[in-house]
């Protein structure tokens, strides 16, 4: 029976190629557009580290201006970054299970041999726990030891790409790199790692490629590393040396801590408050106590990582899908009305309501499936367009299996819904209609 229905529906579709084409096109365009925006939204709204997102916390401390909050529109919020020296001290105390401080910088890599040219590479200046905390996958070696942090030893972890460029992709652990006159020991090379959004630094962009290498936080003092990310200050301080800059109230360091239980969390907040109280006694932190920790998803919300435009597009494109479905229903209804005499003849010849209904639904499903497939290719095209328009790293937004099944599912289900009413209407045609009206 299904085969017969399939044959009938193909025949019926061929009989009205324009109507059928329109229906398929309507579904395809609707699916194409809504899947494109849904994928972008899903990517932006995704959990970059689902296995640990509820045990990793960003830390904020309120060292801001006593007479003005950090953000006038959100006076309850502390600055979204911390000072270099607070981060340094919190790292030294090491109250959490793991913790890391970090900022973006860049260094000039001098050529290994005589032929190469020096070039600049982006670096994340961070501490040893970074790699374990964030589940960073390694191809070769590992991160540096905590002792390297303490002793400010020049060590470096490379990304796959940079290792490719410098060492042709070979195991470079144990090799040396000269950067700004200092020799760095390569301790590891990480594998492709693309947490999306880049949750540990939404402040400087949630959808960038990750930095090309990682070096110890403690080198900041030794090498006078400056931040390539954003820094914010409120206090007029006299700064005549790098040391004074590091000890200023300017905030430019991101601080993360790993805490496993509610108890640990509560303890950690108590610890932060105690730290700030102590600093208050030194004349710092003049605002009321306002220390917070945010888990990964809260941190994404805090920074509104999902761009408003993405939400607007998502909303509008689903309205678009509604238009496409309305078109499909209208077209199907019209088409079925056109089949009235044929249907009533079939009914007269003994087809039951159910048989007729199934026949329509098969036709609808075939249309939905074709529309969905074409829509998927349109969505793939649309995503490439978006990557191009927004200058996103290639492959940042892609249709994964979940998205593909969602697309086909939405296409079939929605065209079924679109076809249900027309099919029901068709079943209501009495078998005698054919014989009575001409």
């Amino acid at each position: 029976m299904f085969n017969y229905n399939l044959k009938l529906s193909l025949k019926s579709m061929r009989r009205n190629p324009i109507m059928t084409g329109l229906m398929v096109a309507a579904i395809a365009v609707g699916i194409g557009i809504s899947m494109t925006t849904l994928t972008v939204y899903y990517m932006m709204n995704g959990n970059p580290i689902p296995e640990k997102s509820d045990v990793l916390f960003a830390v904020t401390l309120d060292n801001w201006n006593p007479i003005r909050p950090f953000d006038d529109d959100r006076p309850e919020r502390a600055p979204h970054q911390v000072t270099f020296h607070d981060a340094e001290r919190l790292l030294a105390i090491g109250k959490g299970k793991r913790q890391t401080a970090m900022f973006e910088s860049s260094l000039i890599i001098e050529p290994i041999d005589d032929e190469g040219l020096p070039f600049e590479a982006g670096a994340r200046v961070t501490s040893a726990d970074f790699f374990v905390m964030f589940n960073v996958p390694f191809i070769y070696g590992s991160g540096w030891d905590k002792s390297a942090d303490a002793a400010a030893e020049p060590m470096v972890v490379l990304t796959k790409g940079l290792n490719e460029r410098l060492f042709g992709g070979e195991d470079s652990v144990g090799n040396w790199l000269t950067m700004q006159g200092t020799r760095f020991l390569v301790t590891g090379v990480i594998d492709t790692w693309e947490p999306t959004p880049r949750f540990f630094d939404p402040i400087n962009g949630g959808f960038q490629e990750i930095n090309e290498m990682f070096i110890p936080y403690s080198l900041t003092r030794v090498l006078e590393l400056t931040s390539a990310g954003s820094d914010w200050g409120w206090k007029s301080e006299e700064i005549n040396s790098f040391e004074e800059w590091l000890n200023s109230e300017a905030v430019w360091v991101q601080y993360f801590v790993e805490l496993e239980s509610t108890r640990e969390r509560d303890d950690y907040l108590v610890h932060l408050d105690a730290y700030v109280e102590e600093q208050k006694r030194l004349g710092r932190f003049e605002r009321p106590l306002n220390n917070n920790i945010y888990d990964v998803m809260e941190w994404m919300d805090y920074h509104e990582v999902v761009a408003n435009d993405a939400k607007i597009l998502l909303g509008l494109s689903f309205l678009f899908l509604v238009v496409c479905l309305l078109s499909t229903i209208a077209l199907m209804l019209t088409k079925f009305v056109g089949k009235k005499s044929e249907i009533s003849l079939r009914r007269a010849l003994g087809a039951s309501r159910k048989v007729i209904f199934n026949q329509q639904i098969v036709e609808v499903a075939v249309i939905g499936f074709s529309g969905g497939l074409i829509g998927l290719s349109l969505a793939a095209l649309g995503l490439q367009g978006i990557e191009y328009l927004y200058d996103a790293p290639a492959g940042l937004v892609k249709l994964d299996w979940v998205m593909m099944f969602t697309a086909i599912g939405i296409a079939i289900v929605s065209s079924m819904i679109a076809g249900l009413y027309p099919a029901w209407r068709v079943c209501q045609i009495p078998p005698a209609a054919q014989l009575k009206t001409q």
């Binding site: 557009i33 400056t226 005549n240 056109g338």
Partner: protein, 402 residues
């Protein structure tokens, strides 16, 4: 010819026309709101930045190595750049307008910390800065060369006596009063005098609402990365970019040339979200209008085929071609109008959603009549060909077909 039989016909098969009306309604809601966003974005992209975007080149260099002297390097680089034929002016600057990266500060008109300062973008560049960006000074004077000194990193330079401000900043600081010659106070309560006023200039962050607030200090920032702003003769930019890159690269081996780019490209990059949104929404609008028009054509054509007999009967009973065309167009017009009425309501809902959830400015009501007129024209255009075909049905159909 009244609405009579056609209306009854419409009412009896109400689901079909109602669906089309609904489709038109949602189309209207999407098209109007999207169009409004597109127009706003395009307006934003096309704002006058107050500088010569087309003829400016930005070069980024960074020194390394132990013997590197940043002040020497900058001095020599500027001399080198200005020796290249076609270069009009060049300066070193801490930031580049429209680039997305910059500094911000707050200024006050009195040295009182409790007063809310006026936020503004700020730059430090040399006496050729205005010329290098093609900025026009509307009143006052530019920096004197002797006011411009090198500023070393991690040093606290003395507050300069003279600054330039944009008219927009001056207005927000001093209101009606003339700002020229007035004193402004920095965060550390040190004073500077406004010596010149720039008619109009955009700062670094194109999405910031105080984009036109700019204050400029004299200075040659000697940071780790040095940014050179270079203006060239019209039409020579693309030819000169590789030359500049090559000459800078050859002149000093203790330094890397990070990039040489046109300001136009950098500005385009800053506006890429707006451009992206405008383009995507334009595509959405076109697809939507195309789809709705095609559906109307498809449905009307189908109706003509379905109603051939009926049209023949009407013709046999005395309907003129014009009557048939009118009937079709009127039917179509009715559906469109019902759709438009529903559409206005829906448009208002969507506009409200955008306004409340995303803080977009309120929809300009004039878009509504415009959208409705567009839909009318569109749906009439879409229906006219099928209507013509309907009118060409021979009245003999009444007697001929069984």
């Amino acid at each position: 010819m009244g609405l009579g039989p056609m209306m009854s016909s419409l009412m009896r098969s109400k689901t079909g026309p109602l669906l089309v009306a609904l489709q038109i309604a949602v189309t209207l809601a999407i098209v109007i709101n999207s169009l409004y966003i597109v127009v706003q974005r395009v307006e934003r992209i096309n704002r006058d930045p107050g500088l010569d975007v087309d003829n400016v080149i930005i070069a980024y260099v960074r020194g390394f190595g132990e013997n590197f002297d940043v002040v020497d390097s900058i001095t020599n680089d500027i001399i080198l750049i200005k020796s290249i034929p076609g270069v009009v002016a060049a300066t070193v600057s801490d930031h580049v307008p429209l680039s997305g990266s910059g500094s911000g500060t707050g200024l006050r008109t009195v040295p009182d910390e409790t007063i809310e300062p006026v936020s503004t973008g700020y730059y430090r560049w040399g006496e050729e800065g205005l010329d290098a960006l093609g900025i026009e000074l509307s009143r006052g004077r530019n920096f004197f060369p002797e006011e411009v000194n090198y500023i070393l990193p991690a040093s606290d330079p003395p507050t300069p006596p003279s600054v330039l401000v944009t008219q927009n900043l001056a207005d927000d600081l001093f209101g009606e009063e003339d700002a020229l010659g007035k004193t402004v106070y920095w965060g550390n309560m040190e004073p500077s005098t406004i010596v010149g006023i720039i008619g109009h200039l955009h700062g670094s962050w194109v999405t910031w609402d105080k984009l036109a607030h700019v204050v400029i200090q004299p200075g040659k920032p000697a940071n780790t990365t040095n940014k050179y702003i270079i203006r060239v003769e019209p039409g020579m930019r693309d030819g000169l970019m590789p030359i500049i890159e090559q000459k800078l690269g050859e002149s000093n081996r203790q330094r890397v040339v990070k990039s040489v780019r046109s300001l136009e490209e950098m500005a385009a990059r800053s506006y890429r979200r707006d451009r992206g949104m405008a383009i995507i929404l334009s595509i959405v609008i076109s697809l939507l209008i195309g789809l709705t028009a095609l559906v109307i054509v498809g449905l009307s054509s189908f109706h003509v085929t379905q109603r051939t007999k009926q049209i023949g009967i009407r013709r046999a009973l005395g309907a003129r071609r014009g009557d048939i065309i009118n009937e079709f167009l009127l039917e179509n017009w009715l559906i469109t109008t019902v759709g438009a009425v529903l559409g206005i309501i829906l448009t208002a809902f969507v506009a409200y959603w955008l306004e409340v959830s995303f803080e977009l400015t309120r929809l300009d009501w004039r878009y509504l009549p415009a959208g409705i007129v567009i839909l009318w024209v569109l749906s009439t255009l879409a229906a006219i060909e099928p209507a013509r075909r309907a009118a060409s049905v021979s009245p003999a159909v009444a007697t001929r077909s069984g």
